[in-house]
Symmetry: C2
Subunit: 502 residues, 2 copies
């Protein structure tokens, strides 16, 4: 949305290079250094001469507003601004490519305002300043995602919007919305309203209305964040059952239906009619080119118990290989999605099971065994597909101590393969699955831990020093507290402004 790649971001004034998280590709204090003061009431964001985007660009105007408030909201308005020093009264933003009101995409450029905001300091007199700093910046990976799971626990809209804010502070640019799953179906479908009426924890309070979804998408867009919705099938769909009679496979106990249900029933035409209608709606609601189709962890027990499924297996010549049945379903689903003009991301099982996917498919690597995830990354990219890494970044899995370090030390390209293969790694996602997480503990579990993933995906591969990262991340976490984010501490210590929200 703003400054293009490899553009000098700032030429402003300071002594030590200020800590920025995630670390820019290049940052230095120019010879001679220097500092200039920022007088809040006179300071403005503005467009540089020759910028392809100018006044009237809603995304930038809104960002200017947000960052002015983040920077100077604490300034006392009655305070007399000091006349001394060299004042800097504007930040000139230069945007290389035109276009302002579209949605962000895999190829979107990045904003510089967050970096700028992190460089602004405040001295002991309350005077804002910025030290002269030269920054050249661009992300290492294009897809820097965060997954939230709103099925195992419902997350109120406000928690999602707050997460989007903090994602932007971390330069995450993809919100992977794992919106439905076995435990609940909070997505309110216009085509199939019974899905949430029957499948939400509470159809009055625990649903995302069409308006909620639009709010999330728009809020994300204003922050340069894409929203990729996941409707995981054919497994992970138990909550779909009550609102979609006939969709799920009836499980059998000996010769009779047991009353329980398994994955989506892949042998009925009605299933594909349903799936077509639902995804037609979903494709319209979510503007991003990509949908996440899931495809993970299909349990074959129920399919195996069902005599009609077994008959179908025989008819199709699948033998006892239920992976073939799974692939049969996925194949048809992918064709439906293609016909809707959408691209797709799938969990790695779809690739592992040899489903024929389009060449532009993105394979999402999440499993740590039986084979190491780096082997999977090598296989996926060798087969010519693009890959997204999440396996080492399941942040829901907590442990005692500074577990951000393990996430930070991951190197996504540390596998054997050609340069072309490495190019196919478009990024990764931090995942916060919801078994043990809801709005009560989401923010402190995410932040600043997810920041470790954010820097790994943004900064240069050479940025790996743990001690340096600790200092910057602890500082960034203090900045987050100052912005009202309930980010937990890395270790013993304190922040000067640590209780604004409490």
């Amino acid at each position: 949305m703003a400054a293009g790649r490899a553009l000098p971001l700032l030429l402003l004034l300071l002594e030590p290079v200020a800590a920025v998280w995630p670390q820019p590709q290049a940052e230095r204090t120019p010879a001679g250094g220097g500092r200039c003061l920022l007088p809040p009431r006179r300071f403005r964001f503005a467009y540089a001469a020759g910028s392809a985007v100018g006044p009237g660009c809603a995304v930038l105007e809104a960002a200017f507003q947000r960052y002015w408030a983040l920077l100077f909201a604490a300034a006392r308005p009655t305070e007399k601004e000091l006349p001394w020093g060299i004042p800097c009264t504007q930040l000139l933003v230069f945007v290389a490519t035109p276009g302002c009101n579209g949605f962000p995409s895999l190829d979107s450029k990045e904003s510089c305002l967050e970096t700028f905001s992190q460089l602004v300091g405040r001295d002991e007199n309350g005077t804002y300043y910025i030290n002269k700093t030269e920054i050249v910046d661009f992300p290492r990976f294009r897809h820097r995602g965060l997954l939230l799971d709103t099925s195992r626990h419902y997350l109120p809209l406000r928690a999602i919007l707050e997460t989007l804010d903090v994602m932007a502070y971390n330069k995450f640019n993809v919100f992977h919305w794992h919106i439905v799953d076995d435990p609940s179906f909070p997505y309110e479908s216009m085509t199939f309203p019974e899905l949430s009426k029957q499948g939400a924890f509470n159809a009055m309070t625990h649903v995302y209305t069409a308006s909620d979804v639009q709010t999330v998408i728009e809020y994300a867009r204003m922050r340069g964040i894409r929203v990729i919705a996941e409707f995981d099938t054919p497994g992970h769909t138990l909550s779909w059952g009550p609102g979609a009679p006939g969709l799920l496979t009836p499980c059998y106990l000996d010769k009779d239906p047991s009353g329980t249900y398994g994955p989506i029933n892949p042998i009925l035409n009605s299933t594909y009619q349903f799936v077509t209608s639902l995804f037609k709606e979903v494709s319209t609601v979510f503007p991003d080119f990509f949908l996440h189709l899931g495809g993970d962890e299909v349990d074959f027990t129920c399919w195996k118990s069902n005599p009609k499924i077994r008959a179908f297996m025989r008819k199709m010549g699948f033998g006892e290989d239920y992976k073939k049945l799974e692939s049969f379903y996925i194949q048809r689903l992918l064709d439906i999605i293609s016909s809707l003009g959408k691209g797709y991301i799938v969990w790695q099982e779809v690739f592992d099971n040899g489903v024929k996917v389009r060449p532009d498919t993105i394979i999402h690597v999440w499993k740590e065994n039986p084979k190491p995830y780096m082997e999977e990354m090598a296989n996926v990219t060798k087969a010519g597909y693009r890959a997204l890494l999440s396996a080492p970044w399941y942040l829901n899995r907590i442990s005692y101590g500074q577990d951000w370090m393990a996430a930070y030390q991951v190197e996504p390209l540390k596998f054997g393969g050609s340069p072309e293969q490495k190019d196919r790694v478009i990024g990764g996602e931090a995942c916060m699955w919801g078994e043990y997480v809801d709005v009560t503990n989401l923010a402190p579990r995410l932040w600043p831990r997810a920041g470790a993933v954010a820097e790994r995906l943004w900064s240069n591969a050479t940025v790996r020093d743990l001690q340096d990262a600790y200092v910057r991340l602890a500082d960034f976490r203090c900045k987050l507290l100052g912005r009202g984010v309930q980010a937990q501490p890395l270790y013993v210590g304190y922040c000067e402004n640590e209780f604004p929200g409490f």
Copy 2:
């Protein structure tokens, strides 16, 4: 503070026995059952005939106010109360022993209002009711504590007060305030104001003033909670150094002081003068009979490096056994505390090192190795001392999944010993050390996990069924959310009223 042991708590009305956490000693629905409705505007707490305590008892009056608000704050005042059903318009509280305005002690009786509040339900019309339930209740252990560490991170007063509220909901009755330690000294001493001025993270914002401390003690008293302060010495005192020149041992590098400091210097008279003055103040400020004196984890490296300490060791005939030096210090400290008329609790090292302690000393068992903690419990009680268990209840140590279960399954008396030994186990404490915890994540890490310890210390030893505990604890956690406590989920699911605070 209220109804005595083994007193029938309630004789009121319902169908299934309502879930209460921690589980009462006996709870049953009487034959015939029955339910009565509670009309909020007419409902009152009152004193039963013959109660040793009546109107004017501040502790009870305040509890009546709190629980009326907890129960009925959500009642719509304009709503017409239903005339049908059998109304219950008062809860009669009978207190067996007189005395109302003192501080709680190890022998205090317990309150019944929390139990009552958990039995009240609300039907789909918003009508409050209580089902007829007979409860006989009393705690299994007298000391049911929770430790908070305000040195590794400062906890704002508000967070401590909120914790006291939730402790009362869980029937915890001891707040173990680990108020100072190596990283910071937030206690504002009247005798030695430089301690916090020099030792707090920030002397303006990160201190507990005398008024703050009084507020904590009074807030706790109103909830039947004792406040036991810990001033841990001779180790864990680095933050004391800047404000108390000469108190800490100067460490040496070869023949010269290295500029760093170790534990309190045990060989100087000035040390004991300082300790006497400080604990004289602390004994006055904290009304509880017991002080916690620490005594754990003394690192001998610095003492060993110091030539004056080594000379003292030789003079005293301690050889190379620095435990003797530690004991020398502790012995003098204990004598000082005794002379101040206080009892003391010490960490297990003091017992392990063979320090001569008073027979009424309480030994706090916290180590998991080298010997199993149950062996230590056996040894401590065999030696005739009272024991407090914390080793399996370090709740700061988190792991993925339902780790409350391990805390719940502990049986504090599962060691070989006589009945007299078992009687010497006065209870235990859940500990929330502050390395990775501050106000941003305190509440969700504590609750409902600490509830597992609360029930273990309150309920009968036979109450051990994990499935049953899960259901009741999940329900209790929903009640906590309804009261505005940021208690994290046990597992997948939801509460009807889960977003009041968000």
